[in-house]
């Protein structure tokens, strides 16, 4: 593989992993609130979070482009913080985060719902506050669902195409991910290159699934 191809692979794996890490704390928090609390506007938030899962990715990308573009929040950020979001690697990260967030939340929420609330209640009677209960009871007992959700989110991020191309463009060396590179190669009749990248995608997916299986097996109780 060429240096350019390696760069694409590294960039994709790195941004996808970073997006999973970035959404993890929010995902845990939101999933817990959805699983364990009733609050006004809960159904609206639920729907908003799920939207990117059912909307065409390109449409989601367009929303992000408008929102983070120069006339939206993006302009404000550029003026006051001095960096641009759209058509940079940050836009790739943003697209991956938004697209994979619903998968993480769904999986983690189900895992939290599977934790017997009695265990959390009894932990409270033993003197534990909310945070301690969350980190010592809820999270460890939901660990399988959390790891599963992270894997799903990471896999979704690895293969993201529509939203990324809208908000970050397809710039080799800057915003091009494996999916975009495969598309580009096929467009340019570079089939061998496309197949090499295809092989890399398979390998990345394999490593992700295998790692999570390994983590699960160690976390038996």
């Amino acid at each position: 593989m060429s240096a350019e191809e390696w760069q694409v692979v590294w960039f994709t794996a790195w941004v996808a992993a970073l997006s999973t890490i970035v959404i993890l704390p929010f995902g845990l928090g939101v999933a817990w609130l959805l699983a364990r609390r009733d609050w006004p506007g809960k159904s609206v938030v639920e729907t908003l979070i799920t939207l990117p899962l059912v909307m065409p990715p390109v449409a989601t990308g367009l929303v992000l482009l408008e929102f983070f573009g120069n006339h939206g929040v993006g302009g404000f950020i550029q003026k006051h913080l001095g960096f641009r979001i759209i058509f940079t690697w940050r836009a790739v990260l943003l697209a991956l985060c938004v697209m994979s967030f619903p998968l993480l939340v769904r999986s983690v929420r189900m895992a939290f719902e599977g934790v017997d609330p009695r265990l959390e209640q009894i932990a409270r009677t033993l003197g534990a506050g909310n945070l301690r209960v969350f980190f010592t009871i809820s999270v460890p007992l939901a660990m399988r669902g959390i790891v599963g959700g992270m894997l799903l989110a990471f896999a979704r991020a690895l293969g993201e195409f529509g939203a990324t191309i809208m908000v970050a463009g397809n710039m080799p060396g800057r915003t091009q991910t494996v999916s975009l590179a495969i598309f580009q190669s096929v467009q340019d009749f570079q089939d061998t290159e496309a197949f090499r990248l295809l092989g890399v995608s398979v390998a990345l997916a394999f490593i992700a699934v295998w790692t999570s299986e390994w983590v699960m097996r160690r976390k038996k109780f």
Binding site: D116, R118, A123, R124, T125, L126
Partner: protein, 358 residues
Amino acid sequence: MTLLLKNISLPLAPFALEVDVEIRGRVTAIFGPSGAGKTSLLDLVAGLRRANSAFIQMDEQVLTDTAHGVLVPSRLRGVGYVPQDLALFPHLSVRQNLLYGHKPGNGGQVSFTFERVVEVLEIQPLVQRRVTELSGGEQQRVAIARALLSSPKLLLLDEPLASLDLPLRARIIPYLARIRDEFRVPMLYVTHDRYETLALADEMVVLVGGRVAQAGPMQELFSRPANLAVAGALAVETVLKGSIENMTNGLVMVAVGPVMLSAVEQNLPPNTREVYICIRAENVVLHKGSDNANSARNHLTGVVRSLVQDGLLVRAELDCGFSLTALLTKKSAEEMKLMPGDSVTAQIKAQHVHLIGR
């Protein structure tokens, strides 16, 4: 310890929990049929559930007062809770479970040290294990120890022995008695088993359909159930309909069909005629062969219809013109060579014949 439960109102599925009671016992049994709201009551005391209205005060501390918006969080209540399903943390070892809420000492004179609690409950050999590797009785003891180690001012036990078989129950009861005597933690003990109640409790609250049917010292409730619901909940074996024939010098003569029973006057409302007669099986003494003279007022001849073993005891169903249940030890039944079909005399002291107006 005084636990005040006032104006409690919590809607449950078929009825509402409505309780107003003051608890002073060392071990108070909350007794009642399943679905009577016993667990919900414990949840309210532990602060795990919100009631429509409630005032809960433990000694000087107000824990819940809905009228003034007071709701002390569970973690600050100083209440140890052993729920029916035990709720041991499956991802932690026995030691980690035990230490989860460990606070040595609650300011009182008793200190709940890890070593002492583990010793009293005999769980030293289990400490390194995973909770999933424990037997039912072991899990039970670990759950109780975990609650004790948080140095509670009050221990809530929700049918702690319900999931265990009979021989195992008999083995756990002494541990609970030791906790009561050594650590002197007041306990609220939910159960629908009267043998556990008899072995451990000194006071009891009978809950039927979400309401307190009767509360008071245990002996009093068992021998003087206030009404039929309490008698039923306490499983007083023989409950008969009868009518009072006459009262003289404090002795009441009651007719059950053709049979006359003597009872001691029990402050019945004036002009009561129709009554329920409650006789506890352990107060019926059986005698085989010719009757003997003794202090019991009631001597009833009857036939043994069936003998059923109930733990270490034998339950004899008799036909004395009405059906009467007697409880005797297995050994007595063997020595008497008691068999179904035998003719026997059942002797009951007049003060053990309890009357409830109807």
